[in-house]
Subunit: 324 residues, 2 copies
DNA sequence: TTGTACGCGTTATCAA
DNA sequence: TTGATAACGCGTACAA
């Protein structure tokens, strides 16, 4: 910046004004500075600019579980869309459901002085970050954070699971099984609660053996569904509690050469390709990202309202797989 | 940091040494500093640390087309895996195939003093960045950059397209159509070149009317394939040049109630769910990300070898859809 | 409208 | 092994 000032024959401060878009500069000097910047290939250092108290870094931290999961990558897309309009960049990382990894990432992002954080808390969130003074605003998304008193954007997991399960029951299923990931994950616990609630409401007994949890990937889900269908008390309906479980179920159906009615939670690419097409209760991943980013922007702008809990409705899409 | 030094009764510099993991500190002072840091909830400011010349920011910029596309999110996953081991964070953004947006993002990342860049160049890359002095190392991925003299990691698009097309021909197809995105995208041009080359090698004439380009999303690809199949000269084989085209073709088949042999470029989730399962020429997206990140790390470490062009082989996966 | 002097949080030099 | 002091690149208060 000194070099630019020297080349343009002005003071350092005038250059600073120029790059910050100040209007009270003589047009002539403005031009000289512009020229000097071009000649010297000057580019300002935003890291240096941001160390000054009260100045923002223009960066928001994002911690999700796994960018490879379509649900989360869609979520990030929603966040991107909102923040890019404010000229904010995303410093993102995947925690892989690992609490200590998550804490490390948080530290790392905080050390970089992000203006705010959008976080999908891992199943066992080591530290609870919210509340500590001096922290930038945090918005939790997809799952509630470790603190009750925090902004959070979630889908209606319970209601969606009730709808999905009821849809199967309405179509004649009497023994509806559940496939999903670990119940330590808040969304999973909620979805199973909805599943059980719907069964109870229909006067159906919950069978613990028909609840397949801790299936973390497609292959594990496929194996679980396969052995369930080949077992003694095969169900006549299947609620798949996330996109990987749904895909696994389809693989199982194909491997066995036989299917049962199913409904999945969270839409997925293969849903419309399967035969019959898979009915789902979909959550608006992009919308969740958008809402979270909007709420964060409000907080960054100084909004001090009490913490908001934003629950996005789910949507039922019937495509055929819910019927026998 | 001054506060910590004061509280621990040492000088500022000793605290600096402590947080930087220097070993030449008296254990007693080390403990006092550690305690003071805890008491004061001190967290160092990496932005401030990085403004000093020669110091890295510990951040790498990533510009891709669209984080919502499974191919790119898988690519980013590969990058993440390599860089996290070096304690490096990703500052990522989507250019949406927009050249001017891309340039803006580049400027923004450069102003944040990233240590390096991994870039998927948009179809019309406005400026050519490589070569300008003072720039951090750049590795192009998925497509060659605007400069020939730059590190780049790509898949064997030409070879893969030849294999895909030949597979259809081998299975009896005589009028093989092509569906894909804009030929301004380097990978698309290469794949069409491979497609044509395979046709020529088989003694088959290339029919311009059977080349459906500029189909940017699934719906557009589906519409194109539908009208092609319902048209006067319906093909008896279909090469889908990217994952969105493949998915579009499946939708078209389902809408019409009739299919033709097809092979897709790039594997996708629904491929194993379709009936018959879709044969693909797959590229190792995660591997491409990994290789690009590794190459970037070498450059950041000061490796000054001539620019590398890394071409990753594609792999044919026959699942049934290539047959009539 | 422009410039001077200082401070932001950190690291590097060099002397103690 | 430790500490005083000067950068790093920039923004702000205040004076001119």
């Amino acid at each position: 910046m000194v070099d630019v000032a020297l080349a343009a024959g002005v003071s350092l401060k005038t250059v600073s004004r120029h790059v910050n878009g100040a209007t009270n500069i003589a047009p002539e000097l403005d031009d000289r500075i512009r020229q000097a910047i071009r000649d010297l290939r000057y580019r300002r250092n935003l890291s240096a600019a941001s160390i000054r108290p009260g100045r923002r870094s223009g960066v928001v931290g994002v911690i999700i579980e796994d960018i490879g999961n379509p649900f989360y990558s869609t979520l990030v897309r929603g966040i991107e869309g909102v923040l890019e309009q404010a000229g904010i960049l995303l410093l993102s990382a995947s925690s892989e459901e690992d609490g200590s990894r998550h804490d490390l990432l948080m530290e790392s992002l905080l050390e970089r002085r992000v203006d705010g954080l959008i976080v999908v808390p891992p199943r066992r969130c080591g530290t609870s970050w919210s509340g500590t003074p001096g922290l930038p605003p945090i918005v939790y998304v997809d799952r509630p954070g470790p603190m009750v008193e925090a902004d959070v954007v979630v889908a209606d997991d319970f209601g969606g699971a009730v709808e999905a399960t009821s849809l199967l029951v309405t179509n004649g299923a009497r023994r509806v099984a559940f496939v999903g990931d670990s119940l330590e994950i808040a969304t999973m616990a909620e979805r199973r609660r909805g599943y059980r609630s719907a069964l109870a409401a229909a006067g159906l007994a919950a069978d613990p053996d028909a609840e397949l949890t801790d299936r973390h990937d497609v292959a594990a889900a496929a194996r679980a569904v396969t052995s369930l269908l080949l077992g003694p008390a095969a169900p006549d309906g299947l609620f798949c509690a996330n996109n990987r479980s749904s895909l696994g179920a389809l693989h199982a159906f194909r491997a066995i050469g036989r299917r049962i009615p199913m409904v999945g939670f969270d839409d997925f690419e293969a849903a419309t390709v399967a035969q019959p097409a898979v009915s789902v209760v979909s959550q608006d991943a992009q919308g969740m990202g958008r809402r979270a980013a909007e709420q964060l922007m409000r907080r960054i702008s100084g909004d001090a309202q009490p913490p908001q809990r934003i629950v996005l409705p789910t949507q039922v899409t019937q495509r055929g797989s819910e019927r026998p």
